[in-house]
Amino acid sequence: MAQQGLSWDLLADLQLLLQFHFMQNALLVGTLVAILAGAIGYFVVLRGQSFATHMLSQVGFPGAAAGVLVHTSPVLGLIVFCVAGALGIGWTGRSVDAGRRGESAAVGSILAFSLALGLLFFRLYAGSAQGIYGFLFGTILGITDSDVLLTAATTVVGLAVIAVIGRPLLFASVDPDAAEARGVRVRAISIAFLILVALSVAETVQVIGTLLIFALLVTPAAAAQRLTARPGLGLALTIALSVLFMWSGLAIAYFSLYPVGFFVTSLAFATYLAIRLFRAASRDHHRPAMETAT
C-alpha cells in the first residue's frame, strides 16, 4: 500500500507512515487498544481465563455484523454483544471463573452458534466477504474518527476501573478463598473483570480481528509473566510489549502487502517463544538445588 519504498532515513519513513489520515487513525487506535489489552491481558493470564476471552471475542463477531446491519457502528455492536456475553458468563456462576472448570460442551456450542449468527447477519446485509474478513482477521483501513473517539473513551474507562479494582482483583485472582474471607466481593469483582475483558475484546477486534485476539490479550502477558513475578513490573512490561507489537505490526504491514494481524501475532508469538526457550536454557545451565523438606 505504500507509494514510496522504505529508506534508511527513519524520519522520512516515519513521515511516510503518517502521511495518510487512515494511518494516523490506525496508529492512534492501535496504541489505545494495545494499552488496554495489555492491562487487561495481565490479569487474564494470571487468572487463567484465556478461554473466556476467546469465547467473548467470538461472541463479538455477530455483534459487529449486527452493528453493520442496523447501520450503527460495528464497534458499538461489538461492545453490546461482548458485554452481554460477559454478563452471561458471570450469570452462570463460577463455571468459567478463573478458567478451571470452563471448557464445557455448552460453551463450545455457543461459540459455533455465534459464528453462524455472524455469518447470517453479514449475508442479510448482502455484505462483502471483505467485511467478514476484516472482523475475523482485523483491518487498519476504514477506522473513522468516531471510532477513534469511542476507542479512546473505552480505554480511559477501562484503565480507570483497573486502577480502582486492581488490588482486590489481584487478590481474588491468585487466592479467591482467602480474598473472600478478607472481605473481597470475589463474585462481583469477577463479573466486573469479565465486562472489562469484553470492552477490551470489542476494542481489540477492530484492529486484529476475532480470531487473532490472543496476540494482544494473552501472548504479551504470558511473555511478561515468564520474565517477572512482580505484579507492578509484570503489568508495565505487558503493556510495553503489547504496544511494541502493535506499532511494529502496523509499520511492517504498511510497508508490505500483508495484513496487520499476521505481523502483530507473529511478533508476539516469536517473542513468547524466544523467552520460553531462553528461560528453559538458562534454567538448565544453573538449576538451583531442589529444595525438599525445610
Binding site: 494470571l46 487463567g48 483497573i162 486502577a163 480502582v164 479494582i165 486492581g166 488490588r167 482486590p168 489481584l170 487478590f171 491468585v174 487466592d175 478463598d177 482467602a178 480474598a179 473472600e180 474471607a181 478478607r182 472481605g183 473481597v184 509473566q225 515468564r226 517477572t228 513475578a229 512482580r230 505484579p231 507492578g232 513490573l233 509484570g234 529444595e291 525438599t292 523438606a293 525445610t294
Partner: protein
C-alpha cells in the same frame, strides 16, 4: 503483644448453633467455647462439617439457628482480627506471583486501588516492614522473593500462614494446612503454629485429618461427627470408646512408652485426601 490477661474470655463462642446445607443439618445444638490463646484442632470424619464449623465462625456460612461470636462480637467478613487459611491444594506451578506479594495481599488486598510499586516507599515503608516481619516469623525469608508456584508445599504453607497473620490477626483459622505435606513438614509447621500461639497469644483453630502429628502441640481437641460436636482436653476426649462412638467405626487409642497418645484405625487409607463440601 504479650497479653497476660489472667482470665481470658472466649475467642470463639458457639451457642446452640446449627448449619443447614441443602435442607439437611450438617450439625446442630453445638455449644463450643474456645479459650483465647489456645491451640485447638478440629477433627472428624470426611464430610462431617469441620470446614463448615470454621466457615461459620468466619461468617462465610450462615447459621440456621443459634449464635456464634468471635471475641465477643458477631462475626463478619473482612475482620482484621482473624487470619484465614482456606482448604486448598497447592498453587498452580504456572502462577507467577512472588510469595512476598501474596503475603502483602493479606494486608491490603481487600482495599480498593492499585498496587503501585513505589507507593509504599513514599508512605515510609511501614507495610513492607510488617510484611518482612511476618515472613521472618514463619522463617520464609529465604524464598519469599520467588514465584509461589515454584515452591514446595511446606514453603507455600509457611507463606500462607504469614499472609493470614500479617493483618495483625489475634486468631488463625487454618483449614487442613497439613494436608499434602510430608511428615517432617507436618511436624515443623505444627511446631511453628504452636510457637506463634504461645509467643503472640494467637488463638489457633486448625482443621486436620490426622491427629497424630499435631497431638503433642494441642491444648484442645474438637471432634465433629454425626451431626454433633464434642470438645475437651486431648487426654479427656481421645479415648478408644469416645472415638469409636464418634466415628461409628472401631478406633483404638494407644499410649506409647513415653506417654504420648497415638490414634489408630480411625481413618481411611493414609494416602486418601477427601474433599469436603464447603
Amino acid at each position: 503483644m504479650a497479653a497476660s490477661n489472667p482470665q481470658p474470655g472466649a475467642a470463639v463462642h458457639f451457642q446452640d448453633a446449627g448449619v443447614r446445607i441443602g435442607g439437611r443439618f450438617v450439625w446442630r445444638h453445638v455449644d463450643l467455647e474456645v479459650r483465647q490463646g489456645s491451640f485447638v484442632a478440629i477433627l472428624g470424619p470426611n464430610g462431617a462439617g469441620k470446614s463448615t464449623l470454621v466457615r461459620a465462625a468466619l461468617g462465610l456460612t450462615e447459621l440456621a439457628e443459634g449464635t456464634v461470636t468471635v471475641f465477643g462480637r458477631r462475626v463478619r467478613r473482612g475482620n482484621d482480627d482473624i487470619g484465614y487459611l482456606p482448604q486448598r491444594r497447592n498453587f498452580d506451578a504456572d502462577l507467577r506471583i512472588r510469595g512476598v506479594d501474596l503475603v502483602r495481599l493479606g494486608l491490603d488486598g481487600a482495599r480498593w486501588g492499585f498496587p503501585l510499586p513505589f507507593a509504599d516507599r513514599l508512605s515510609g515503608g511501614a507495610k513492607a516492614a510488617r510484611v518482612d516481619e511476618v515472613i521472618r516469623l514463619v522463617g520464609a525469608q529465604g524464598y519469599a522473593e520467588r514465584s509461589i508456584g515454584e515452591l514446595s508445599g511446606g514453603e507455600q504453607q509457611r507463606l500462607l500462614i504469614a499472609q493470614a497473620l500479617v493483618s495483625g490477626a489475634r486468631m488463625l483459622f487454618l483449614d487442613e494446612p497439613l494436608d499434602s505435606l510430608d511428615l517432617n513438614n507436618q511436624q515443623a509447621i505444627s511446631a511453628l503454629i504452636q510457637s506463634i500461639c504461645q509467643e503472640r497469644q494467637v488463638t489457633v483453630l486448625l482443621v486436620a485429618h490426622d491427629v497424630n502429628p499435631i497431638l503433642p502441640y494441642l491444648d484442645t481437641v474438637v471432634y465433629v461427627a454425626q451431626g454433633q460436636v464434642v470438645s475437651g482436653k486431648p487426654e479427656d476426649v481421645i479415648k478408644t470408646e469416645t472415638l469409636t462412638r464418634l466415628y461409628g467405626a472401631p478406633v483404638e487409642v494407644l499410649q506409647t512408652s513415653d506417654g504420648r497418645l497415638v490414634v489408630v484405625g480411625q481413618h481411611e487409607p493414609v494416602s486418601y485426601h477427601g474433599h469436603e463440601a464447603p
